[in-house]
């Protein structure tokens, strides 16, 4: 399958930028407005799902391979764990918000470790959901070729 028609390809290549921007906004402003790491990560993954539906799987694999996305997944999980351990080192308790006294309320850079945790979780959720859909589509492809 080499993707859909020219109309779908053109429109999805415009819309994907907006979807990625909206996902990054949801992640970065998670401590000020509704949203957060999980929702933003799913939005980032869904932008790649749109590309996969419109252009086919091979095109997406050139852009973001499964090895790279599994590395991003591990980096996100590791960063979230490290934030917790740093809280233990500097604050004495696991998951202490040790940066909160250096920040001002209602600013973009505020709330201490919460935006950092949001970014880590967004990276983790986005990469892992992309990986699930990618491996499912590989599996579907293989079973279709087996049947033929």
């Amino acid at each position: 399958m080499k993707g859909m028609t020219v109309i779908v390809k053109t429109i999805s290549s415009w819309v994907k930028v907006l979807i990625v921007l909206f996902g990054i906004y949801i992640i970065l402003f998670g401590h000020l407005t509704p949203g957060g790491g999980f929702a933003g990560g799913v939005i980032l993954a869904s932008s790649y799902v749109l590309l996969m539906l419109a252009f086919g799987r091979e095109r997406v694999e050139e852009n973001l391979s499964s090895a790279l996305s599994s590395k991003l997944d591990c980096i996100g999980a590791f960063a979230f764990g490290m934030i917790a351990v740093l809280g233990f080192v500097f604050g004495g308790v696991f998951f202490t918000n040790f940066l909160v006294k250096y920040s001002q309320q209602f600013n973009l850079i505020s709330a201490g470790t919460i935006p950092l945790s949001n970014i880590a979780i967004g990276l983790k959720v986005g990469a892992s959901l992309f990986l699930v859909i990618f491996s499912l589509s590989v599996c579907c492809k293989n079973s279709e070729s087996d049947r033929e």
Partner: protein
């Protein structure tokens, strides 16, 4: 208030159609309608965090399910239901219904916080001290990433483990190894 009853009726009808229809694709679409109705209810209940998460996950799941059902040849369900299974599920649903009636009698009136009378409960503490202790304007985020961060760590661990399982089972190499073991 009336909007909730309309949405509940819509969700109920969609659920019944999803169970009863013979076409797999229309069942999947009805499941999607249930999810979108639920996210609309969250919006009207003023819980935008959950509404965003619900609608985003619903879109992704709907795309996956539709792709899965279109790729398969088997789009029609056939076969009758077993008598024993039907009886057991009806009895279990009735027991859950009785327990639910007992639980809903103890709940406070709609729109009232559960712990409004006692000032020392956890939710009152979050609302009073959440902003100054965590600095986050969004109290939901301050709860899930500061007060209850262990919960989020457990959720992330569950997701991580399930992804490892999915990629190990669905990878390409294992299929090749199964097909010719000499490689």
């Amino acid at each position: 208030m009336a909007i909730f009853y309309i949405l509940l009726l819509f969700i109920l009808i969609a659920a019944i159609v999803a169970v009863e229809t013979k076409n797999l694709l229309s069942a999947v679409i009805c499941v999607g309608a249930i999810g979108f109705g639920g996210s609309l209810m969250f919006v009207f209940l003023r819980a935008p965090d959950i509404a965003i998460t619900q609608i985003v996950v619903e879109v992704l799941g709907l795309i996956l399910l539709i792709r899965a059902t279109i790729a398969r040849d088997l789009t029609f369900i056939s076969g009758d239901r077993e008598f024993f299974g039907t009886v057991v599920s009806v009895v279990i649903v009735f027991i859950i219904f009785l327990a639910g009636v007992r639980v809903f009698e103890t709940l406070p009136e709609f729109g009232k916080p559960i712990f409004a009378e006692n000032p020392d409960t956890a939710s009152q503490t979050y609302i009073e001290k959440g902003l100054e202790e965590t600095g986050a304007a969004n109290l939901v985020t301050s709860v899930i990433l500061d007060y209850r961060a262990y919960d989020t760590l457990g959720e992330a661990t569950v997701l991580f483990t399930s992804i490892i399982g999915a990629t190990v089972i669905l990878r390409k190499k294992s299929r090749k190894l199964l097909e010719d073991p000499d490689v």
